[in-house]
Subunit: 362 residues, 2 copies
């Protein structure tokens, strides 16, 4: 195994986000949409890694239907690297399964657990930091994470509190000891976090050596460790039935809650590489290039006296007249028109559709 | 000819209104759209007359392409009653052509010149008034018109000023001598018109005996009278080539400007029968039934915290979130999203499309 193969990326692609309805659907969540460029977000995520990680060292983890999509979108990804969860059991289970797979290849390989549906606009910065983080994780036998410098008191993210003492350096990058992972705060607390300069958004990206991950599980998440051992054994024997059984039993828990909030010896690197989790239509509007009056437009359009709008309309001519801060998303079988500051209520549409059993629009 | 056949309706169906874009198109203007009911406006206009006028006495006048549509929509209308103008030359030419046709059938027949794209919600009142107007027109050898009681100082309509002296009665209806037809006023003047109680909106509907129309033309619109005579001769000989030649020469002028503003001996009946010329999407919103929060909805929809909107979306599910007074019109190849009080700017879309030579969307 070459030095490069000592490093594997695991892309978590099992998300089911519905915040981009009507473009995103149960069967085509955000990571499979070309919303940040002409390519889907998962393609972007893989392409972003290629200077550092060859296809053969990139894994994805998702459900079976999503795996099919991934194989179609990324034909150069080896089929065996497209890992399938028998059922969705949140990120702890996903990452145990994927890390075990890497462990079987090389227990000392470093795993970077990444998200399929995040935007990182400064690729070079990201790769430089990722490489340094890999080294830090390998040398320090630590879990490394990227903390995003907060730009406003967000209540939708977890936070990472760091210490400014005993900061370590690898390849010119600073790694701060993490004091605590904190769940999503209230607004008041979020304001304090942003003000004190010692809190960063939890990006959900983690870097660990496979064997170190196992040790950390054993010590800090002992209820998950037996599942790790069983999954490892089942994978060794390529026993898919056993995996299915284990997945029925394993608790559904996020890796943050299962491990990160308890584990010791975590290092944080500043994730100032143009990160966005693109969590809503309005956040997408911020990313897209705008016309003279601040409209983010995709598709043939005629804009009359309108500003601050987001229009996604790939199939037809759309005329906007006299609108301010409105989101318009037109797909073949559904249309959304939404005030920009109300876009978190798209989930109410999903709830209403579920109530109506309007499956085809979900 | 029975008494009923002494009365003919001429429905002017040649309009090219573009104010209902993207639903209305050059080839399918408002009168051919089912926007006030499940039937097109021209079907509604014809059906409305049937208790008083048999199909055999109903004429339409339009261009050739529109005539084809009319024949398809109204198969019970005799084909010979679907009159075709060789080219659009405004309403004076249309009504000379149509009235001449009726004149050849019976010079003393009464013609009611009606519009294909107006809404009249109180049919019984309308028919009662139409019948009385027919009698007034026949007995008084007058032109009768319906004046709409103004509900606001509209600057988009012409006005009819009446006298309250020498009011005549037919079948219990009052007929007021018209003092003047007035062009569209400014807002100041419109306010005075509405306040003085002697001004009514010009509905564009006129009732005259065919021979009286000819006499009035001869006396008050002498520049048009030769065309009347030539059209009459050409129709007698069924000489379509001659009609084409005459239409090349005849001035393009509205009947209001050509005749009504000059003619003497016009009587007005109050047109309080739920009239609307449905001149815009917002006026349509007033007509449609509303949901609890004042949204006029056509099509499958999910409404979240929205009010005063008009939604026309027959092909797909549409979700509205947090909107107030927005018009959304979705068609197969074009979408309009427009602030309600800006809907007169739909014509700017048309202008832009013309500039772009985007024929398929016109």
């Amino acid at each position: 195994m070459s030095e490069k193969e000592n490093f594997c990326a695991v892309i978590m692609a099992g998300g089911r986000g519905t915040r981009f309805w009507p473009l995103s659907r149960e069967k085509r969540p955000k990571q499979f949409l070309p919303i940040t460029s002409h390519r889907t977000m998962i393609e972007e995520t893989v392409e972003r890694l290629l200077p550092l990680v060859p296809y053969s060292s990139i894994y994805t983890i998702s459900d079976g239907a999503q795996a099919k999509l991934i194989r179609r979108l990324l034909p150069r990804l080896p089929g065996k690297n497209v890992l399938v969860e028998p059922q969705g059991k949140n990120t702890a289970a996903s990452l145990i399964l994927a890390t075990a797979r890497v462990y079987l290849r090389n227990p000392r390989a470093v795993v970077a657990a990444l998200c399929a549906d995040h935007l990182i606009s400064e690729r070079d910065v990201f790769l430089r930091k990722l490489e340094a983080s890999t080294e830090a994780a390998a040398m320090q036998e630590a879990i490394v994470t990227f903390g995003i410098p907060p730009t406003y008191p967000a209540t939708g993210y977890g936070y990472i509190q760091i210490s400014r003492h005993k900061v370590q350096n690898f390849r010119g990058e600073s790694f701060y000891p993490v004091r605590r992972f904190k769940e999503k705060p209230g607004l008041e607390q979020a304001r304090e976090f942003v003000a004190d300069g010692r809190h960063f958004w939890n990006s959900g990206m983690f870097i660990w050596r496979a064997d170190v991950f196992a040790q950390k599980l054993e010590r800090f998440a002992p209820e998950f460790y037996p599942y790790w051992e069983r999954i490892l054994r089942a994978q060794k024997k390529k026993d898919d039935n056993a995996i299915r059984t284990i997945f029925k039993e394993i608790p559904a828990m996020s890796i943050d809650y299962a491990l990160m909030e308890k584990v010791e010896g975590v290092l944080m690197n500043r994730g100032n590489f143009g990160w966005s989790d693109v969590g809503s239509w309005s956040s997408l509007a911020e990313i897209w290039t705008k016309d003279d009056t601040g409209n983010a437009l995709y598709g043939d359009s005629l804009i009359i006296d309108s500003s601050g709008c987001l229009l996604y309309s790939p199939h037809k001519l759309t005329a906007l007249i006299g609108l301010k801060d409105v989101i318009i998303v037109d797909t073949k079988d559904a249309l959304l028109v939404c005030r920009k500051d109300q876009d978190q209520r798209v989930r109410h549409v999903i709830e209403a559709l579920k109530k109506k059993k309007a499956r085809k629009h979900l």
